[in-house]
């Protein structure tokens, strides 16, 4: 019964969307305090390689590996953030762009560890491990009328869904608090924020390293979903793509990042020709967006319009 509805291909796309949402949020959080990071692909790579290498060579459980991978990326964010954030935003953008490139160079050249540009294969896959775990508890996919691969993709999707929901919840709550207010006041007027008693360096590094952590988390998850990674997965193109999720969807509201990630992951799947010219379209899109609608498709005004619309409909009833 259930088996008829579960299409592994669709579930896999859904999983990629979820990972992309995490990545989009990893750009959104620093942007909410006015920081542009071009290193998200690099942080993603650090998370992915750290977790992959730890699980391959030291047989660590996947979830420990993912946590360490994300944390290492987060720490790297602090190390890069402190010197660049003392200066203006331009320096941070350059430093993160450079970081992304240097991380890629290390992945390519440190062949004894990273297998160079071929990349790592045989990374423990989250789905398989979950299947084995379930079997240890005496649960068989067949009990739900599922084939093994259906069960695997479903479990991956569920885990990712829980993680992404938790992340959105975290960011949302943080936003509507003293910390979130500090972020947005820094974004709107750094000098005024500081003269209101806000330690801007602390909050900028905080939001930046949260972004790095999330990108690392997404990278580690990516590694354990795919089972293989290579330096080209974490190139500058990737960083620009992630940036576009957020900038296109709307960088003022978290729902914008989510929308951007979903929409821009689905479009190339649905329209094949878009996939081929993807980056050309992305490039034109960025230029037009900045000139016409720099805040992205979804913004506060549009959302409150939606809300009013809903409310008035409710009123009629």
């Amino acid at each position: 019964m259930l088996a008829d509805f579960i299409n592994p291909y669709h579930l896999q796309i859904a999983s990629f969307i979820l990972i992309n949402i995490l990545l989009a949020i990893s750009v959104y959080v620093p942007l909410s305090s006015g920081q542009l990071s071009l290193g998200s692909a690099g942080f993603m790579g650090v998370g992915a390689y750290t977790s992959a290498l730890l699980t391959i060579h030291f047989d660590l459980p996947i979830f420990v590996g993912i946590l360490i991978g994300a944390s290492v990326a987060g720490c790297l964010g602090i190390i890069i953030g402190i010197p660049s954030l003392r200066l203006s935003g331009v320096y941070l953008a350059i430093a993160t762009l450079g970081l992304g490139e240097v991380i890629r160079v290390i992945f390519v050249n440190w062949e004894s560890l990273t297998k160079g540009s071929i990349g790592l294969t045989g990374i423990p896959q989250m789905g398989r491990e979950l299947l084995n775990l379930a079997r240890d508890f005496g649960i068989q996919p067949a009990m739900f009328g599922l084939r093994n691969n259906q069960f695997v993709y479903l479990m991956v999707f569920v885990i990712l869904f829980i993680l992404v929901t938790a992340t959105i919840w975290f960011v949302f709550r943080q936003q509507n608090s003293r910390v979130g207010r500090s972020f947005s006041s820094i974004q709107m007027d750094e000098k005024a924020a500081e003269s209101m008693g806000i330690n801007i360096t602390y909050f900028k590094v905080l939001s930046f390293s949260q972004g790095a952590f999330l990108a690392g988390l997404a990278g580690a998850l990516f590694a354990h979903v795919m089972g293989y990674i290579s330096p080209s997965d974490f190139s500058y193109h990737r960083a620009v793509e992630i940036l576009i999720f957020t900038v296109f969807g709307g960088s003022e509201v978290i729902i914008g990042s989510i929308f951007g990630a979903i929409f821009l992951t689905l479009i190339p799947e649905v329209l094949r020709f878009v996939s081929e010219y993807r980056y050309i379209i992305y490039g034109i899109m960025l230029v037009i967006l900045m000139a016409v609608r720099p805040q992205g498709i979804l913004d506060i005004q549009l959302l409150s319009k939606f809300k009013r619309l809903k409310r008035s409909k409710g009123g009629v009833r």
């Binding site: 975290f170 709550r173 943080q174 608090s177 003293r178 910390v179 979130g180 207010r181 500090s182 947005s184 006041s185 709107m188 007027d189 000098k191 005024a192 924020a193 500081e194 003269s195 209101m196 008693g197 806000i198 330690n199 801007i200 905080l206 003022e252 506060i300």
Partner: protein, 257 residues
């Protein structure tokens, strides 16, 4: 003594913006800082809040030397300001603007914010109540959900005062609060500043509206070309030869601050 300016000078690339200026502000008074445009008044504010560091001299607040302290630490110590060219968080609601002002009097971090601990909830509630109270004080309570950028000019000026008040300052710096206000608004501003004084807050004000300054201030320092020209009560200042000369004797020049 709340604030003591000791022989403060500031050079910008060879130009003296301020030269050896000293004055002292007593607790609870409203102190005026006046002078022609370009006299260095806003520069003095920027030095007190350490947007720039003075080239020489000292700034002492409540008997502790705050020269060179980071801006946000100075706010924590109890000095908060408004800006000549209003600097509100334009895309935030009026209420949130004021709540940001209360930042340094609250402590919630990431963990307590995300998990909404009891202490955090209490703190947020207190912060909201305090902000509403302050909005009421400046007559903006009914506009609390409006975005700052959508408020009228005079309202924005008053919102900035409310935001600064939220940091519980002992000393409030107001940079031309009456600029662009009509007579009626200026009158209510007078009442507001007097009310702030009655709450035990010391006020240092830069203002061009002379009738307001003379009515409001207990004592005044006059700056001219970065130097202190005179100091005294409004009556003394109005009858000071040098001040009359400076104000009547020449055209106003371009504001460098």
């Amino acid at each position: 003594m709340v604030l003591e300016i000791r022989n403060v000078s500031k050079n910008f690339g060879g130009i003296h913006a301020l030269k050896d200026v000293s004055f002292q502000i007593q607790e609870g008074e409203i102190y005026g800082l006046i002078g022609p445009n370009g006299a260095g008044k806003t520069t003095m504010f920027n030095l007190i809040t350490n947007i720039f560091e003075p080239t020489s001299g000292q700034i002492v607040f409540n008997d502790s030397n705050i020269t060179g302290l980071k801006s946000y630490k100075i706010t924590e110590q109890g000095i908060c300001r408004t800006y000549q060219n209003i600097r509100l968080f334009s895309q935030m609601s009026a209420l949130k603007n004021v709540m940001v002002g209360g930042h340094c009097r609250s402590t919630s971090g990431v963990f307590s914010s995300v998990f909404r601990t009891k202490k955090q909830k209490r703190e947020e509630k207190a912060l909201t109540e305090k902000a509403e109270e302050l909005l009421d004080l400046v007559g903006l309570l009914e506009h609390k959900d409006a975005l700052a950028e959508n408020l009228a000019y005079g309202q924005q000026r008053r919102l900035e005062i409310a935001r600064a008040m939220a940091s519980n300052p002992k000393l409030l710096l107001l940079d031309e609060p009456a600029a662009g206000m009509n007579e009626k608004e200026t009158d209510s501003l007078y009442d507001l500043i007097k009310l702030i004084q009655s709450k035990g807050i010391t006020v240092l004000i830069i203002e061009h509206d002379m009738p307001l300054v003379m009515k409001l201030c207990d004592r005044i320092t006059v700056l001219n070309f970065g130097e202190k020209l005179a100091e005294g009560t409004p009556y003394e200042i109005q009858n000071n030869e040098a001040v009359i000369e400076a104000y009547l004797g020449r055209e106003e020049d371009v504001d460098i601050a």
